[in-house]
Homo-oligomer: 341 residues x 4
């Protein structure tokens, strides 16, 4: 069946599988000490334009958020995030399970505003009782956000400046980073992110890998003995090559960007399709996740024909639904959808 | 270079890669709700001979130990293990990081004795101050152990009976389970383990998979909302198919057992080789890890020619070293080693 | 200087000190196994009208909240509270440090509404992705609230019914319980609370004790091995008598209620005083905490003469300030304040 | 009944109660910001001979151990202690509950040897796989130990030098510090401890206070925002005066030392008594805890007449029992015991 319900429903980009097959019988060092992982590190550092970046590979998004946040915060600190941030809502309390509060500010189409974070920090320090409260110790943003929206370069600069003013790190969750970077409506480049953030990750799971996220500590600021912390959290792969090979392939000849662009192109096709058919959009998303308002009747009609995700109820008779494209979506998929609509 | 340093230095069994390639473009449900994962569950239940087993897939061994132990213990409970147990020594404090003490008893060639565990439990309850102490809440054993040794069926029955007497679960870490089951010197079958343990895992990472461990809760005793616990620990794969497909292949036509037998056969070849050349064994291991005593001089001589792991110092001039075979070791590898020795 | 800044600025009620002095050289069993603690338990059970209540003593409020919540929740559960709840805002992340998310709903003058909690729970279970989210596992309310306000019996019944419908415990933080029970504007009795809640605590620290809170598990539902959990959290007093004696005194001849009434009477005097002088109230509080709006100028004028707490800014020129009475506040204190105003 | 079962069975030294009564109605600042706490800090700094010491007050021993250790260790670090150390055995897993492993070395009459700790550290760093293991991050010793024994100044210097060589803090648990300092067989002074340790605590609970331990960070090395950490752990007293006043009294006119000497003098009397009656000692203890070997028959005979603690079984017919003196033990108590024996 035609599938638009998410961007992780297919396997890996064929070139990744080819590389796994090609290197399969080579004996590699374990735990990420193999040559492929080293190559991947080097290529990502180059793509980020930072010689002093420290790149580590982890398996999934929630794992990455939990480990990065916990290893960079002191016990008395929490992390500022939008209420709609993935860590606030959809990670089963992973951050709290590691001991830290998520300090929420309103999200605007998924985006956190520097002014809100600043107000939170200022009001914290202005409070005479702030030593009885959780210290704001980091700002977390996702780019693209959970609603597919993007920060402008100006917005990122503002948030980054705020963090530096208060000497707290800025962490960018890039689970879908490729789709953000290749959007037609962005002025943010990977090198900007590497410059403005203290740590961020380049999502693999949702952008063509079987699994894997590349964490970039942008200025030699990886927490001391991060390797041991990863092990302690059960996140260390014995066959670290599985991550190294995948990111080596993704960052060879610009594959990561190329396949991300495909998702964007198909999302634009899809957007046009819904537009032409007169559908209303729930959010204006410049990335691979498109949110459309459908009547309950229409949903019932489409469900046997195409997979999509019902996102949230809009009114008594309508819901917002999500159609996601990915590196794997083809023109044929879009055409088939056109016929169904 | 010839490589015997561990059993996770190559990729995956070719049939696994074939299945990943074959299914790659199919759209599957995420988070382990796909058909391959369901098939793998069913096949493992059948292999275990238990209709009431609940099978879950996780990514790695330390992760599995941490999540299983934490989700089955109460906050005031700890887990009994041999001092040489993986959780006691080589998991960077993962169990303690989740809040639980590892209560150690001596290991005998890696094995825990029922009598020692019982003495610990009895002395705990006999202590007037035991409410100020950590309650023994589980017994953890590894099979094969970290020294490649195996429990006899009789020993397993004793430990199991002890656990049932005190109503605490028995957890068996089967990171290398295949190599234990296919040993020429064992009387323990998978169905025995499924009957005697409350929870155990069938190791994939070290037995032919890229990654992955199959956790078996043997009698519908998976902790409530285990899925959410897995997510909270950052251990949930979006593309759960990666684990499902691998275990589906491993448990089709007995592949798991067949490739495990290869490791055992090659280990016996290797053992014979060292015997013939007059080397001394550090431990008598009936599985794929062989521990040999080498002089420092010999080690220096071999190191440029073949990879192996220096395990521990035996005396001023000798060390124990580990040579491991795996599903991937060939007769040619053994012959090549023979020439070097 | 005249002191109204809080209800814990003086020592203990004289009768408590007398009892400490009188019993001082008696050799008592440690850890709460002494006769005074047992007497206190019995008297509290009687005051609550519940034979099946299990009463435990802890040292302070945050400690009590953290231990009670953590010991009653599963790892995958969080606690619902108003955004203004003490656990949400002013306990330095104690709940999160124990691994649990505080799931916030709006506070109305400090009070949580059953309808909001219900909406949160219903929307949780209605969410297709709820297994990726924190399970609502408890409702936490404070009575009096952090703003001195009180639930009506009807409101408590509604919240209690909600909790029972969803089989989650209702926990009432009674740090200032005495002041709530003796308010002139309440229809809630201690026996009501004991019937409607699953666990609550009777605050001592703010109601005449040097320290100490009496936790009441209302129906023999204390978590298993709660003693060990208390020890593990560093909350077990070797000289448990310190808590037992204090609560024994407080619950002899109704002292707890009598001294609470004094605080209420003095608060009413104070309210009248501010009313007569034409001051505006920030909140209408029926208990011992009174919130008044003062101009910055007036604050500067009063600060050298009387202690009170600046609560929050109301507008560019005014702040809300808190004047608290307590068991120790005298008519003379109020008269002195009258002269100052 | 005559009571020697522990050193925390009576209340507080009368001068403490007098001070509590005398200051009772004074309005003090909360949370340890009162003048008495400040005075106590100053006096303890003076007694330690260190202007740069940072003194904090906590309520009990396990609480202190847990908070100090957790706040000084990184997540990937554990604490080295003797197997008989209080944190290893009798704190219900408090250290592990805060996420850290206790790395044990043998105890010799309760004492840890520098050589054993050094061997553990060296073998850790020599291990090629040490990044998969818990980093040794602190050394914990108790003085007096759990067996009443004492380190010599030379031994302390050795352990201290070891810690400084590896840049890890030395933490001394002084739950019974007074009894150690006033022993007739010690060459260790408080100023030595303050010089050789990075952090230690001066026990109050077992030395004349109702509760309370004074933590001394010896060289301005209190963890950042320790106040907030204390709050988060539920260990902050609203009426901090309770701790401040007690330690103010204990460190006025050398009371702490004087009452500790009384315990030592009575212990020597008691020792002589048992000696004269021909009893065998289980340990040779120079402090207030005396361990005597009694036959089961004798134990049964004494139990209705005098309270003592059965410590551990020695052989089929004998147990070691503990008789503890304290600041409150009188000559009359010893004489009465003599008559019973």
């Amino acid at each position: 069946m035609l599938s638009f319900e998410c961007d992780y429903n297919t396997g890996a980009h064929p070139r990744i599988l080819e590389a796994l097959v090609r290197t399969n019988m080579e004996a590699c060092k374990g735990y990420g000490n193999d040559v492929y992982t080293e190559q991947a590190r080097e290529k990502i550092r180059a793509a980020c334009g930072r010689e002093d970046a420290d790149v580590r590979f982890l398996v999934g998004g929630t794992q990455t958020n939990r480990i990065v946040i916990d290893s960079m915060l002191k016990n008395y600190e929490g992390v500022i995030a939008a209420t709609t941030g993935h860590i606030s809502a959809h990670e089963a309390g992973a951050i709290e399970a590691s001991g830290h509060k998520v300090l929420t500010v309103p999200g605007y189409d998924g985006k956190l505003r520097a002014a809100d974070a600043e107000a939170l920090i200022e009001s914290f320090y202005a409070d005479g009782a702030h030593e009885h409260m959780v210290f704001p110790g980091m700002v977390y943003i996702s780019h693209p956000t959970e609603y597919g929206t993007l920060y402008t370069l100006e917005e990122l600069k503002e948030i980054s400046a705020l963090c530096r003013r208060y000497s707290i790190p800025l962490f960018l969750d890039g689970a879908r980073l490729g789709y953000g970077l290749m959007s037609r409506e962005t002025d943010v480049k990977l090198t900007d992110i590497a410059e403005l953030c203290d740590v961020f990750y380049i999502g693999g799971t949702k952008v063509g890998a079987l699994c894997g996220e590349a964490v970039v500590f942008t200025h030699n600021n990886a927490p001391k003995h991060f390797f041991t912390t990863v092990k302690q959290n059960g996140a260390l792969l014995a066959k670290g090559r599985l991550l190294g090979i995948q990111f080596d392939v993704l960052f060879t000849d610009g594959l990561y960007f190329e396949i991300s662009r495909n998702a964007i192109d198909r999302a634009e096709d899809l957007k046009q399709l819904f537009c032409e058919k007169g559908y209303r959009f729930f959010k204006n998303s410049p990335t691979n996740q498109q949110f459309i308002v459908l009547s309950d009747e229409k949903i019932a009609e489409l469900e046997p024909l195409v997979r999509f995700e019902v996102w949230e109820r809009v009114d008594a008779e309508h819901c917002a639904v999500r159609f996601a494209t990915s590196w794997a979506t083809t023109r044929e998929d879009i055409e088939a959808l056109g016929k169904i609509l």
